[in-house]
């Protein structure tokens, strides 16, 4: 703990300073609560049981984590398949790049028409936002192998599978994680947009409800909790990266 503080004190300081500035701004500027609540008022809004904080956070969290997990599995899986088949790659990679141009949030209303609103269609929105960056970076990583290294294995009559498991996949892991980090941020945005479009649960839904009553403190609290969901996801990805990848092999 002491070591942690010593190492990160500057970062901690800047975070605390931001909260202090927020507090001072509200207190000294005499800003009305419905424009900007103070940190204390924001925290206090957690006391309102009818907002069902725990459940709404869990719903949003489930959408984020569910859609994200699906995105990682499908993104990495498709990249592997494309790296195996030049034909599939030639046929579908350009298509996916084109599809990537579609603003995915614009698909939200369609998903809701097709699958009605709820956790399921929000998971789909999250998935559609985050799987392509993961797929594209993984595909790039799998391609980024020194040709001589492949020669080395082929000269030893190594199989395709050996090239893949011993060289390509571990070599691509830093790219996979670079994509997963981008995907993690998009995933959180996707869940909230989905809830904004149509929903009856979740932090995005709650925000729209409290907006009507001008309970700005609860809106602030919702944003904080959404951020918390994102931080937890991001931290999980970082932890996984740290435990799987040798320090120097990471893409920075």
């Amino acid at each position: 703990m002491i070591a942690f503080l010593r190492r990160h004190w500057l970062a901690i300081l800047s975070h605390v300073a931001l909260i202090a500035v927020w507090w001072l701004f509200v207190a000294l500027g005499d800003v009305p609560k419905y424009i900007m609540p103070s940190p204390v008022e924001t925290i206090a809004s957690l006391g309102q049981a009818n907002y069902d904080w725990v459940n709404n956070t869990l719903v949003t969290g489930a959408e984020v984590f569910g859609g994200y997990a699906l995105g990682v599995v499908v993104g990495v899986g498709l990249a592997l398949i494309f790296s195996w088949s030049a034909t599939l790659n030639a046929a579908f990679m350009p298509l996916l790049v084109s599809l990537n141009m579609i603003p995915k949030v614009a698909l939200g209303p369609l998903f809701i028409v097709w699958f009605s609103y709820g956790i399921g269609s929000n998971i789909l929105i999250v998935f559609s936002l985050c799987f392509l960056p993961i797929l594209l970076t993984t595909a790039r990583g799998l391609k980024e192998v020194e040709p001589e290294l492949i020669d080395l294995v082929r000269a030893l009559r190594g199989s395709r599978w050996q090239i893949f498991t011993k060289i390509q996949l571990p070599g691509a892991l830093p790219y996979v994680f670079a994509g997963m980090k981008v995907g993690a941020i998009l995933a959180v945005a996707g869940a909230i947009v989905g809830e904004f479009i149509a929903s009856d649960r979740g932090l995005g839904y709650l925000m729209l409800q409290v907006q009507v009553t001008l309970d700005t403190a609860a809106m602030f609290m919702s944003v904080l909790l959404i951020t918390l969901v994102g931080v937890v996801l991001y931290a999980l990805v970082l932890w996984l990266e740290r435990s799987l990848i040798v320090q120097d092999a990471r893409v920075r």
């Binding site: 001589e148 020669d151 080395l152 000269a155 030893l156 009559r157 040798v246 120097d248």
Partner: protein, 258 residues
């Protein structure tokens, strides 16, 4: 060659290689003829792009020749390209995520050699190339020269009969390079392998080799092939000997650089 010379370990006879690129045929090697005796250290020099790497790839069994004959094995026969060839490139190409020992073990894993024995051999080889104590380090913790030593150990792990080296010291600074030259001579004399070494350094081509093959500008043909009769073991002061200078001048002339 007289009739009583033994069957050479490697015999390249009129070797020709074409690459197909987008429907077009590109002649990379037109006519390479070369005999290599077992235990020799042959340097292969030639202008950039003339087809040296292509010749090594043919020797490694990565490409089939499109013409001519490639015979490896000599009198002992039964040469298995996969088991009997080791390769070293200009870049060490160590796997960043593997410790040095596990990097050295890569060929053994691919060939499915018994693990215990391979690990023991890997340790011995790391000692031989002067990397004792580096078994558990990662490549980034090693200097360029040390990485290349590890790459040499990796090329030796499956005890191949032939080592192919493609400009192995080309990425090293001049001092490290000289040091690695001496190291290579030591490793070669300890391991008694046949080595074919592509180099851009004419000094290196003379200093290291028992035999030198000079190729013409691409598509490669033989410009000349001759033994290097310098005393062995080689020492750095030989570089100032007259014979050494004669050999380098001869190669410069063959490359049209005099």
């Amino acid at each position: 060659m007289t009739a009583d010379t033994p069957v050479p370990f490697i015999r390249l006879d009129g070797v020709r290689k074409e690459y197909q690129t987008r429907g077009e045929t590109f002649l990379a090697v037109s006519d390479v003829t070369l005999d290599i005796q077992e235990g020799a250290l042959v340097s292969l020099v030639g202008p950039s792009g003339c087809g040296k790497t292509t010749v090594l790839k043919i020797l490694a069994g990565l490409h089939a020749a499109d013409g001519g004959k490639v015979e490896i094995g000599g009198e002992a026969g039964a040469y298995d390209t996969a088991r009997d060839t080791g390769m070293v490139f200009q870049q060490a190409l160590l796997l960043k995520w593997r410790r040095i020992l596990d990097n050295v073990l890569l060929p053994a894993e691919i060939l499915g050699l018994p693990r215990r024995a391979a690990r023991e051999r890997a340790r011995d080889l790391l000692n031989m190339v002067g990397l004792d104590g580096c078994e558990d380090k990662y490549p980034y913790e090693l200097s360029g020269g040390m990485q290349q030593r590890a790459a040499i150990a990796r090329a030796l792990i499956h005890d191949p009969r032939l080592i192919l080296m493609d400009e192995p010291f080309g990425a090293l600074d001049a001092l490290t390079r000289e040091k690695m030259n001496l190291e290579l001579l030591r490793i070669w004399s300890e391991s008694r392998k046949t080595i074919v070494l592509v180099t851009h350094s004419i000094q290196e081509a003379v200093f290291l080799a028992t035999h030198c093959a000079v190729l013409t500008a691409g598509p490669a043909r033989m410009a000349a092939s001759f033994p290097i009769d310098l005393p062995s073991p080689r020492t750095l002061d030989m570089k100032t000997h007259e014979a050494f200078g004669d050999y380098t001048r001869r190669i410069y002339r063959l490359l049209g650089m005099d």
